[in-house]
């Protein structure tokens, strides 16, 4: 789907409650992240196959998501099951939304970019975490990660399996999952271990964003 194979974060799991959806981007591609009423999360192309409306603007109905525009309903398998204008129509399987392999780990929803048969599992093990916040940064992912590693001492780098950093920041171990939103935009998903001071880490993360956006490598142009 995107430029480099691997697992990428797209949302904090707690931010997507059952029955809700949100839109995001990965390498510029628009995705809908939604959670059905049974608690399962899904990451799909954010585009209704009918008229191209963003599905993230739609409504979750049980285990389906319905497009805001004409109400086409798609089941958890991505297949259109109901078209309100043609209620008796047996909708063919060819009317479907592109889905991507996704999973939840460390309190983060991850999507796999590439051939899903080689997806494995997202990085980070099974540690219990608590969400802090997601932050958008106006800087490319590469320079954001480089600057992050200057700002805080690196404890663990997940390596090739995904953009996950574990840092020691303001006296707390902090996990930061890096989402390459677009060419010049990055989203950081911050989680901490239970018992950590989330407010302190949140303020640290906000200050970090100011630092990252002030980096001279932003947009490849020296400020």
């Amino acid at each position: 789907m995107m430029s480099e194979d691997g697992w990428y974060p797209v949302a904090l799991a707690d931010d997507i409650e059952p029955g809700t959806s949100t839109g995001t981007r990965l390498f510029g591609r628009e995705l809908v992240v939604w959670r059905d009423i049974t608690g399962h999360s899904h990451v799909w192309e954010d585009r209704c196959p009918h008229r191209g409306m963003r599905l993230s603007f739609g409504f979750v109905r049980g285990s389906s998501i319905a497009c805001l525009y004409h109400g086409w309903q798609f089941d958890a398998g991505g297949r259109c099951r109901y078209i309100p204008a043609h209620p008796k129509l047996d909708v063919p399987a060819s009317i479907a939304v592109e889905r991507f392999a996704s999973a939840e780990r460390l309190g983060i929803i991850w999507v796999f970019s590439g051939d899903p048969s080689g997806a494995g599992t997202p990085p980070g093990g099974n540690a219990e975490t608590m969400p802090v916040r997601s932050l958008s940064v106006n800087a490319p992912a590469i320079s954001t990660v480089a600057a992050l590693m200057k700002e805080a001492s690196l404890l663990v780098e997940a390596g090739a399996s995904g953009p996950l950093l574990m840092l020691q920041a303001c006296g707390e171990p902090v996990y930061i999952a890096v989402q390459p939103t677009g060419a010049q935009e990055t989203t950081l998903h911050v989680v901490v271990e239970p018992g950590s001071d989330r407010q302190k880490v949140s303020l640290w993360a906000e200050a970090l964003r100011h630092t990252l956006e002030a980096e001279p490598t932003r947009s490849g142009v020296t400020a």
Binding site: L89, D90, P92, S94, I95
Partner: protein, 85 residues
């Protein structure tokens, strides 16, 4: 319930691009198609499938790809297949 219809799209068409467009929409709507005539002024196609989806196909193709302008859509009875008696 499957039905068949023959639809003639007339206008200013890029035949290759328009046929590619038809084929894509037909596959999306799970319709079988047979091209009966292809030209820069008209393309005639016989489609078979769910009636509602044939209507959707007609509507979608009346918009056409960016470099084609459909001025008229005419629906006629499907042509008899070769082995029909």
């Amino acid at each position: 319930m499957r039905e068949a219809a023959t639809i003639k799209f007339s206008g200013t068409l890029d035949p290759a691009r328009f046929c590619e467009f038809l084929d894509h929409r037909a596959r999306r709507l799970d319709l079988d198609t047979r091209l009966d005539g292809v030209g820069s002024e008209a393309v005639t196609v016989t489609v078979e499938g769910e009636p509602d989806l044939i209507d959707a196909f007609e509507m979608a193709c009346s918009l056409g790809p960016a470099n084609c302008l459909v001025r008229e859509v005419e629906r006629c009875a499907p042509a008899l297949s070769r082995d029909a008696t």
